[in-house]
Symmetry: D2
Subunit: 362 residues, 4 copies
């Protein structure tokens, strides 16, 4: 009800603030018997954490995860699985200036309006730090999807500012191509330009937005529910639950506005005795249900709101003032958004995999 | 779990197929004492129903609603409110050719993959006919929002093909401007062009996509939950749960990709002793919580998949074949999508209004 | 949230009042392909309906069900299944005297306290009439449980007043033994005494309580969840959701209070290469999870609150007054409670069957 | 879905095993602004923990709680509140003999049947140790109920074996009366006999059952939902979710079986201009909704299953064997069940308080 859970069958519930003792996630609905250790979780956390490259925030947060429950002798037990990540870098003094001033683009004002007061240290619960435990849960979901359905989920940076990657077949991109550079853009030449642009914005004490491409391959046809819990509905919710996401589209997305039906329809065809579609404008989902074609999603990410330059704002006493956010922030959110996007898609697909499995009677 | 409910506190559950006896919605969470009669519900149903103008499908469906429960002596009782809409136009013979052939762009194939068989009459549960009871529930939500919070929700057609309405301040558009023409575009001159384009596509046995703009005004700051049930997340889910929606964006949406933080941030300001933002790139939601500024959403709608021209496809026996969809279909979905979009936004906001109210202790 | 749904995977949502147009249930989570027709549903409705024998209320309610959705060509489609039961016997004049007076033992006062007003006709939503659609949903659950897991659910009247049936092995009782008399007590001699007692109370313008025994056989070991959704927790909730239930116990139940551990523990044993327990004090559930032994539940049912004799009460104006309930009421609720109890147990077990199935990966 | 959450609006989710790193609870739905510190939580944990007196298990578990999130500067923030309790006493060697042998009365066999294997150390997730975080959450619920609605919740030991406390007015019992002796029975003379009986059973290497009485006072009329989420249904589920509970009854409970309606009905009356009932056979709930009278619940608790005497059982290889449980166990569960019962009732009432508040529009 207060919105700290997502999913129905594979369901995660989280707690934690930027500068509290730590963040914790409880995963309800992990089938018993999955081989799992901290080594399955930490790598994705390392992809999300600050300080991993020169183009992300230089804050030092170790993001070391501890499995509190649900794993015994290297396998999941079927009971709830909790992961705790202690906060270690809590430089509260960096944030003292925001106690009474509302940062533009942040949730300071809306939290005060909602709750009457707020934990102003580093944004409290509104800080993206809470996504670290989502990434931990996403790693468990990825492992489950890979092991039982051979589903793979990848995301990469497709656009930063007006620099756009040139990639024809997103479904053929590999993890190593994505991880080959700090921008997480598999088009090497474009990645270099993106990195330069991000560096430039950082120098200018500004930030820049972008677009991420997310791809899920290997899904069988049949996942997703017919009316409200369509796969696109649940995936969109999961992605929009991440701070800074301002748009989500599937397949042709907003381009359908100018398309005719005769162009946009993907004709069915046969390949290797499987039913496929000749094109994939539908992005792998028809009627809310997976078609067996790759799922293609794009998410728009706004430029970081925290800026080390002077901005006009008001304070909690309804007086006009200015603010310049101190602390160390990402000049572009895309590189660190990539593992978060993968996590949210994995959590959603794991949920729908189990939901579909629930109804398969033998 | 099978996805026939949406919402947590104001929650709707639906059932019904295109050619079954009817569709029904149960609304759980209507506060007691709201004045309500069928006259509050039928007008929006009439805006959604087929046959209302020359540019929509000419099928005749009366969509007459009956309140089955939850209203006594003109007021809601606080118990579950059910609305039934009988199907009256069930020309099954129109659909006999689709029993074994998969229509491109439709859910025929994915339903078969999911369930092993399907109710092929008119698309069964995958038909947009099920949205009629969503519109009925939306009318209840609208009344509740208007009465207790003075919230208004409107949607209009912003784009059809490459014809784009010229509207500077969506939040100032009125219902009568929208309803003044069958396209539901408040820019009169553009509406005429859109209507001509839709007519042309119909003549060509084709269809065309478009974009809808949805606006909610009057919300106080403070609705929405901080992590997974952000207002944007729940609104996006609600809109993506509607057939044919392929993209959703809030405020600046995908345009943030090329924006700098210094441009995209909306500075806080004071007006009439209220805290506002000088611009509204954020679309009325910050940190997942309403800011008190108008909520601005855009949704992309694909061109109708049912086409009366020959398309390549396969059948249930994995043989290549062709199909030409008979029956009477909308050449453009936008005009009838408008009331559905309003309904889904209203249902979501009513839910969050009550969720916020739950936590206000005195 | 307003409590009109029960279950998570096999989930039902209901609406309807005693004297409104009708009652409706939407079942979400029926797997596709189950053979189902109205003939699977109507028999249990006939066991629940008024007027079926001389010892139950003589109101005439046909309780004819109509399947609105979710079944196509004799099989469930996997989408939501709705059943509608129109109200036909709405003698509102019988209830006009209760508009302003609170009936002892009824929800008149608490509904007014909760909602500010109430649908006073026949108790409105508080009337047990709403259980008719639960019985319809229960029939679907029973069919599902029988077909895929060979689970059988039966209930019978074990006690009426101080007359107690003498039955040693509840798990061996058959449906035909139960249905052989109007009291639904399989101990024939006791049933005659119960019937006489009920008749006597009716003559005295009074009513009498009793105890029902419910048995579920055929469950495999492994259904139920470890912490909050223990099988006993969900079964108890389901049974306590029925009007007039005042106590629920499993296996030895309240008798454990005087038992030693060495007496109460059921030792494990081997029979036919299966692990069983030598005794069944645990009632088929250990640690919240089914053990494979028969599930044994007892529910206490209070005497009907509606009495055609004068009782002291107050009215809505906080004045003392008296009331004598007119209309035709059951002098003992047990005979009609039996199919309701079976339905609630079936709905709960169907839910847990699918929940367990969700986690079985191959 | 896997059953690690309870509640809808005030909702708790837990994780943890007996011998893992610790137990954690996330509370979703704590209103902002409630004064709260660890000092509100630890006292109830101390009432539940082992080693607190001579008649409970002598295991040493500190049960020191840490608030991980949701509290800032001494007040709740409105975001999810997490509490962690590390396990400190993990004497795994005590449990090595149960790895392959099924303990009678325990969940060893059913967990294996459900999950294929189990964390056998101290019962894993099936151990009552997981209730420590329920008690922590219950302390938060109690504080909320007390502060905003002046609701008080108490429980005490009413019966141990055949020794029954003599208490006429449960609603007048005070906390200090209950805490005055280690049995938590406010009838001092009876408490001494109970203590002697428990000591005797411990000497005999056996255990004994009993009955707890739970009372909630101060509730306004109007809490609870009309159909499935009746107050009695949700309270019963909450109590049956606790290990060892085998029966629950409200008000007259099972005694209604022999009662006439004219005796069992509680007549309405006026006192201090409030509507009350002259008697309280209904136990404070009518039609599933609180009547404003004290809520009276009784729960039956089975004798501890772990016994240091030889019992017949089978092992995981389906061979007959014997087992004698080592380790240190409670000869009677009642003393430590009392705070758990209070917690579960508090959690349920806090949920319904907020649910009712959600629907109160002004």
């Amino acid at each position: 009800m207060a919105g700290n859970s997502i999913g129905t069958t594979f369901k995660i519930t989280t707690a934690g603030e930027s500068h509290g003792p730590g963040n914790v996630v409880i995963i309800d609905g992990v089938p018993a018997g999955l081989k799992l250790s901290i080594d399955d979780i930490q790598p994705d956390l390392d992809r999300r954490r600050p300080g991993q490259s020169k183009i992300v925030t230089q804050r030092q947060e170790a993001d070391q995860a501890e499995i509190l429950s649900g794993v015994f002798e290297g396998r999941t037990t079927g009971t709830s699985l909790a992961v705790l990540i202690r906060n270690t870098d809590q430089r509260s003094k960096d944030y003292s200036n925001i106690k009474d001033n509302y940062r533009p683009g942040h949730a300071d004002f809306t939290y005060n309006a909602k709750y009457g007061f707020r934990d102003y240290r580093g944004g409290g619960r509104a800080s993206a730090r809470e996504t670290n435990v989502r990434v931990a849960a996403g790693a468990v979901a990825k492992k489950l999807l890979k092991q039982y359905w051979n589903v793979n989920i990848l995301a990469y940076t497709q656009q930063v500012g007006d620099i756009i990657a040139n990639i024809n077949n997103p479904e053929l991109i590999t993890s190593s191509q994505i991880e080959a550079n700090p921008v997480r853009c598999p088009d090497v030449n474009t990645a270099i330009k993106m990195e330069a642009l991000i560096h430039k914005l950082h120098e200018e004490k500004d930030s820049i937005g972008g677009i991420a491409q997310i791809i899920a391959t290997g899904l069988p046809a049949g996942w997703g529910e017919p009316v409200f819990d369509r796969l696109k509905a649940d995936l969109a919710k999961a992605l929009f639950s991440v701070p800074a996401v301002t748009g989500v589209e599937f397949g042709s997305g907003f381009a359908v506005a100018t398309a005719k039906g005769s162009e946009n329809n993907d004709c069915f065809n046969i390949a290797d005795n499987h039913i496929i579609t000749s094109t994939n404008n539908h992005g792998g989902i028809l009627g809310g249900i997976s078609s067996g074609m790759p799922i293609l999603i794009r998410a728009a990410i706004k430029p970081t709101s925290s800026l080390p330059q002077t901005q006009n704002t008001v304070n909690t006493y309804k007086q006009k003032t200015t603010i310049s956010t101190k602390g160390r922030h990402d000049p572009c959110l895309l590189p660190r958004f990539i593992p978060i996007a993968e996590a949210m898609v994995a959590i959603t697909l794991a949920d729908h995999a189990l939901r579909q499995n629930a109804m398969q009677l033998h």
